[in-house]
Symmetry: C4
Subunit: 214 residues, 4 copies
Amino acid sequence: MAGGESTARRDRRARSEHETEFARIVAFSDGVIAIAITLLVLNLDVPDVHSNDGEALARALADLGPHLFAYALSFAVVGRLWLVHHRFFATLQGFDGRLMIANLTYLALIVLVPFASDLLGTYGENEVAVMTYAAILGLAALVNVLMISYAMREDLVSAADRRATAPFATARALVTPGVFLVSIPVALVSPVAAQLIWLLAFVSVRFQRRAGSI
Amino acid sequence: MAGGESTARRDRRARSEHETEFARIVAFSDGVIAIAITLLVLNLDVPDVHSNDGEALARALADLGPHLFAYALSFAVVGRLWLVHHRFFATLQGFDGRLMIANLTYLALIVLVPFASDLLGTYGENEVAVMTYAAILGLAALVNVLMISYAMREDLVSAADRRATAPFATARALVTPGVFLVSIPVALVSPVAAQLIWLLAFVSVRFQRRAGSI
Amino acid sequence: MAGGESTARRDRRARSEHETEFARIVAFSDGVIAIAITLLVLNLDVPDVHSNDGEALARALADLGPHLFAYALSFAVVGRLWLVHHRFFATLQGFDGRLMIANLTYLALIVLVPFASDLLGTYGENEVAVMTYAAILGLAALVNVLMISYAMREDLVSAADRRATAPFATARALVTPGVFLVSIPVALVSPVAAQLIWLLAFVSVRFQRRAGSI
Amino acid sequence: MAGGESTARRDRRARSEHETEFARIVAFSDGVIAIAITLLVLNLDVPDVHSNDGEALARALADLGPHLFAYALSFAVVGRLWLVHHRFFATLQGFDGRLMIANLTYLALIVLVPFASDLLGTYGENEVAVMTYAAILGLAALVNVLMISYAMREDLVSAADRRATAPFATARALVTPGVFLVSIPVALVSPVAAQLIWLLAFVSVRFQRRAGSI
């Protein structure tokens, strides 16, 4: 029966199936990232104080400060990674098994963020917590850059988008993962300095964006 | 190669890519809001009583009253905010980086609602819990109004929808965030009065809606 | 500017916007139901036994029996409610504010199912737990029937689907919510009998389906 | 009114409705799988040590090793099952009530994975934990094969995809569920050997894939 189809019709079929599959991968990735970012709220535990004591509750909420910082930071980082991921996927004209596996690895690292964030909120001045957070986020950002440069090399990025996507596959793109990974030894000396470096990285990323690309 | 495309074809491509990107932002936002609203159920803990004692279980469930109130209120507020958000996004003909960041900020506040709701359910008569809840919901509603007026000013709302959207970018639109924010000092005197004000705000919002707009 | 659009073009625009909005409501509902059904797994707690003692772990897992029963029942009921909900929404040619509010109410009840299911798994032989479960599921099924009959009355169901949808808006459709609500007083006498009635209801619903409708 | 529609128009309507319904089933399945895979992170608990003691935190994180292994394994298995599921659904030209129920059963098993994974992470050397994990994953993989062979038999797979899908409905397709199910008695003797068998199964599945099919 398939033999009865004209080539044109089969092509249309193939393209439409391909688009459906592609849409599902995008939707699945978005779903996982959306859930991971929302699970961050579970790290904020309602404190346990005497129920009518306003001052005690205010103090207990103030003690959540480090957890709120970790929440805001993680929400911003994952939100930004999602933006880059979705812009990258919008430029793809195809994908293969390796990109699929790389994408799943990327998602597996993103899903670890609520855990890393809880660790950072609980032990923000402990170098091991800061190093773990930097390692997970740095690896996620690194896999992202590797995915983009692989897609560029394998011609999976549509011709029209190659110029705009190129900077994300060069050494300059390694700034974001690099900053996280460089902060790991820094945290050994000063956990606070490592976290300041992350904030600087964000500013630099913004600057890069202003300067032209994506 | 891209140079070979006719202008019309490139326009169609751009529009279709733009729509795909837009659809992903909408889907991501909806996903985050859907997850946040569903996580509200985790605030309802199964009570711990002797397993065959019906009366004890009934009393323990009755004690969940304040948690059920917080659940119903938060579900209604987030449900309504979702409605406004989705109507607003349906009117957009474009978006830019700032709107994207504003939207992520909005989502970061919505994701805090399960925490705020748990706080309100646990410490409903404590002024600090009521003020925290009002601050988070008030900020979310405020960011919403700011997003809409920004989109109006930057011509991101499609011409056909400008008239219907206009009221949501005027001083009158500040009623919802205003009520939440005004209830903060009220809660200092009476947490119960602050919560009554919220319920009144809902009635007023309904009235506004009946009176014409969205 | 909008005045410049031809009527036909405006109609197409309106229809397309309407479809986009509709798709978002459907996606949001599906998202909430998918999350609620998946959160059911959080009710299964890994037991606490000595780590190398296989027999103790086997016994502890066997003790999870009532929780597994509640999991399977709730997954089946919510799965079935989702099927009916999605078939009903597929027949809609329009919706209004009331249907939107009814749908949010319906979702608010579905979101309570993980809590109700945890209660049933923990206190399966306690009449109050069984009654609470029956009340939440019965109300959800009732709101569902009310939504369908409202949509029929207000002509929101497309002409082509009215015949197939009609049985879901008649007294016969009240069987499912009715069974849950009738089981409430039964549970006062025998919690086990009430649960048997639920299983019978499922068989009857299957029979109805075989007999013709949706 | 429906009587007034031409046959062709009614056909188009039916097809479009059918596609909408189908898209919702796919989206719901993807949603459930995405949530289940993301909930895996909740099995990683932030350890409880003195807040400034880096070495103690490092040791406590190292103790999470078995949980991280369970996380990586479960993410990979569910990720792979999702890939197969989404490729299979892309080949469907129709579905019926039985396939729907089989799909819900499949999802109910996938939703159990976070529990099974927590069990494996907590009691990785306990034969009962390993057997439970193997049983749940083996059943999920088995239901998957049964769905595919049912769809082949009932002509629900589109003609163009029958050849590519066929290997997934033969005895060879039973390798994956078979390996999990065979590992159950092996775990009685050696839980470690059972887990090695799972890793081998993955290699074999990869090999099969390279060798041609899907």
